[in-house]
Every structure is written in C-alpha cells, then in structure tokens.
C-alpha cells in the first residue's frame, strides 16, 4: 500500500532544481511519485516500501547528493553554502551585494568594450592560412567582440551550472571536448564539400539572437531578478535548463552549436576551411582555431566554477549576471541590426 512522506529538501531554490530532483527521485523503483514544493522547500514522496522515514531520507539523499541536495525529516538550516542562504532570506545583505555587483559588472563591460574600441585586436594576418595562423586567429577571436556572444553564453551557462551545484567540472569538460571535436569534424566536412555550400547568414543570425535571449534570461536569473520570487521560467527554457543540468549529451551539443554562432572570426575560418580542398586541411584549420579559443573559454568556465565555490559566490554570481546582461543586450541589438530589422545603434 502507498504511503506518503514529506521531507525537507535543502538546496532547492530554482525551478529547474525542482524538475531535476523530481526526475531523479521518480527514477527510483520504490518511489511512485515525487513532488517538490519550491515555496516550502519540501518534497512529497509516495512509496510502497517498508522503510521508515529516516531510512528513506538517507537513501534518497544518497541519490540527489551528487547534485547538491539533501533530504531530511527535520528542517535543517544550512550552515554554509552561501548561494542557498543568499536565495533565501537576508534581504538587506542581498541588496547590498546587488549594488556592489552592478559597478563591478559594469567595469568589466567597460574594459571589454574599450579593448574592442582600442584597435589593439584589429591587426591583419597576411599570407596563407595555416593551422598555426588559425591558432593565433583563435586566440584573438577569444578576446574579440565574439567573446560577447560565445563567451557570454559560456559564462552564463557556467555560472548557472555552478550555482545549481551540478557536477560542473564534468559538464565543462564535455562542453570543451564537444566544441573541439565538432570544430575539427565540421571543418573537415567543409573541406570535402568545398565551395558548394555557403554558411547561411540568416541561420547564424537567428541562432545568435536565441543565444542572446538565453544570456539575458540567465543574466537576470543570476542577478536574482527572476530567482528572487522563484518565478518559473517559460516551459521551453525550463526544459532547456533541465537538459543542461541532467544530461551528459547536452554540453556536447552546446559545444557543437558554438560552431554556428555568429562570430566573424569563426565564419572567416569556415570559409578558409571550405576552400582548403581536403578533409585533413579543413579539419586541422578549424581544430587549431578552436584550440586557440580554448584558453579564454576554459578560464571563463572553470573560473566561474572556482568562484562559485568560494566565499564570494553571491557577489560573483550577481556580477557575472550584470556582465552577461550587458553582453546579451549588445549581442541582441547587434544581431537585430545584422538582420536589418533595426538600424545599427552603435559601432565599436
């Protein structure tokens, strides 16, 4: 016969956590139904097992622990874990952090745009494109205006993943491996296909717009505008988060997807790969390019992970949120201008 137990669950403060916990718990054989209540931070479990509540709590905790959640019979107040406390009460302290985070985020944005405007990055690379030059182009690309979209996306996803306490190192490794491998393979494919196909402007532009919208949403979420009242995100985005957090496959796919994100450097390299004439040369050019962009992107993802587990975590998340919102807005306006929907508002 079915019995219903209610446990307190710590670590759940976002809509995506709810889905993740429910998914994991429902996978257990003896659990018939699991329902998380975000507001009360409880989970209701229907089970036909013979275990007592304490045993059950311990058993289920062992399933969700890797993702950073704990189930208990009594409500426990987390001793440490700044992010959870931050999402909970302490309104005053939290307000303070937001006001501190805005100037910090803006400083990074100002430095970034100044770097673009300075012209330091705009030197030409002459001669034939070899894997060595593609590597250098990759290095430049990773700090160029492309960082606004690719880097912004990496930063926002990384911060979000670290914030949700999912095994982040593995996720980031998968993302970077996915990116390197797909650049190599797709570069090779472009090399074989030759000049037959072009890379579609509208397709990349739309993908860029989607990326910037994701960045804006994640940015707002990191700053706390969306998470504050635990407002659930629209269901498609909801599912998207769930996939990021839950599946091995998704970081690989997002790594693959970065091949198509609008970035002038990537597109130029794709053209070089196209005209290279063979699988091997196309592959080595795109792989070298992706390798060049790796240091900066790795710094962003693993950097956020180390900040996220440090004592300045709340400040980091909110500053990162401000940076991501800024870059997202920039990419959105630029993308709309690129499609010819609005007039270019600015020129760096």
């Amino acid at each position: 016969m079915l019995k219903t137990y209610t446990f307190h669950v710590s670590g759940t403060y976002c809509a995506s956590c709810k889905i993740l916990i429910e998914d994991i718990l429902n996978e257990q054989e003896f659990v018939k139904n699991a329902r998380v209540n975000l507001k009360k931070e409880t989970v209701e479990i229907e089970t036909d097992g013979e275990k007592n509540p304490e045993e059950l709590a311990e058993l289920l905790t062992s399933k969700v622990k890797p993702n950073g959640y704990t189930l208990s019979v009594e409500k426990i107040i987390p001793a440490r874990s700044a992010t959870q406390r931050d999402a909970g009460g302490e309104e005053n302290k939290k307000d303070d952090v937001v006001w501190k985070a805005i100037p910090i985020g803006l400083v990074f944005l100002a430095l970034f745009f100044m770097l673009q405007k300075s012209g330091i990055l705009s030197f030409g690379i002459g001669g034939k494109t070899t894997p060595a030059t593609s590597f250098i182009v990759g290095l430049i690309a990773s700090v160029s205006s492309c960082l606004a979209i690719v880097g912004g996306l990496v930063l926002s996803l990384s911060a979000k993943i670290s914030q949700d306490n999912v095994s982040d190192t593995k996720t980031f490794l998968l993302f970077h491996v996915g990116r390197l491998v797909s650049f190599a393979v797709l570069g090779g494919v472009l090399g074989i296909i030759g000049n037959a196909i072009g890379i579609n402007f509208t397709f990349t532009a739309i993908l860029g717009l989607l990326a910037s919208i994701v960045m804006l949403m994640l940015g707002l979420n990191l700053v706390g505008v969306l998470a504050k009242n635990k407002i659930a995100l629209p269901s498609e985005l909801f599912n998207f988060f769930r996939k990021i957090e839950h599946k091995t496959f998704t970081p690989l796919v997002i790594g693959f997807g970065t091949f198509f994100l609008p970035c002038g450097f990537t597109q130029s390299m794709q053209i070089v790969a196209l005209s290279s004439g063979s699988f091997t040369s196309g592959m080595s050019i795109m792989f070298a390019f992706a390798l060049g962009t790796l240091p900066m992107l790795a710094l962003l993802s693993f950097g956020s992970s180390s900040f996220a587990h440090g004592k300045h975590a709340p400040l980091f998340f909110k500053s990162a949120g401000v940076v991501v919102i800024g870059l997202g807005l920039f990419a959105l306006l630029a993308g709309l201008a690129g499609l010819g929907i609005i007039n270019p508002l600015f020129s760096i």
């Binding site: 030409g124 130029s268 020129s347």
Partner: protein
C-alpha cells in the same frame, strides 16, 4: 560603502560605455571620381574605416571594400538596403555596384554580427 556610492559609480560607468559606443565624424577621404564613376573606398579591418563617408549623390557609384588579412567580423559584410551579404576574401578588394543614389539618401552597411557599421551620406 553605501548604496548611493555604488549607484553613482554605476551611472558613471554607463556614461563611459556610452562614450565608447558613440560614432565618429564624417570624412570625404576615399572618395574618388574616375571616368564619371564615383568610387568610395572603405577599409575593413577590425571595423570599417572611415565610419562615415560624405559622397556625391546623383551619379553612378561603386563601393570598394578593402580587406587586408581580415579575419574579424568586418569581413562578413552586410548591406541590407541592396540585399548584399557576403564574406569577403581575407585580403583583397571587393567592388560592389551601388547604382545611382539620390542626393540626401544614405547607405548603411554593417558586419554580419552587427557590431561594426559604416554609413555613406550622399549630398
């Protein structure tokens, strides 16, 4: 530090970013008339230069976009009003026939990602 200080710093930074985004002044350099055809030359490398060009209206005009080892966004050129979208060769000059623009019209071009742009005013 209190909230007010942070807000003042934030506002100052927004102004700085605004200044960074502000465009440049007009230029007539790079405009050349040969055999009754007006050639407007624009360099594409880390953005477009000059950003604003003053040209003559009412005459056949060709735009020459010069790349020089350009791998950045400015190589992927978009001119929405004439539906021109192309990734330019890394090094070389691309000639685009603009036809005849009337006096008072403007032409805007930008890179595929939309972060670099240029403008030609026909007076």
């Amino acid at each position: 530090m209190n909230k007010t200080v942070y807000i003042i710093i934030a506002l100052a930074l927004i102004v700085v970013i605004g200044i960074i985004f502000a465009g440049g002044a007009g230029s007539t350099q790079g405009v050349e008339i040969k055999d009754g055809v007006q050639y407007i030359k624009i360099d594409a490398l880390g953005g477009y230069s000059p950003q604003v060009t003053e040209a003559k209206g009412g005459m056949p005009t060709k735009l020459v976009v010069a790349t020089n080892g350009t791998y950045d966004c400015s190589a992927s050129l978009v001119i929405p009003s004439i539906s021109f979208r192309k990734i330019l060769p890394q090094t070389g000059e691309t000639e685009i026939d603009l036809g005849i623009f009337k006096t008072g019209e403007t032409l805007k071009g930008l890179c595929g990602m939309g972060m670099y742009s240029f403008q030609i005013n026909f007076n």
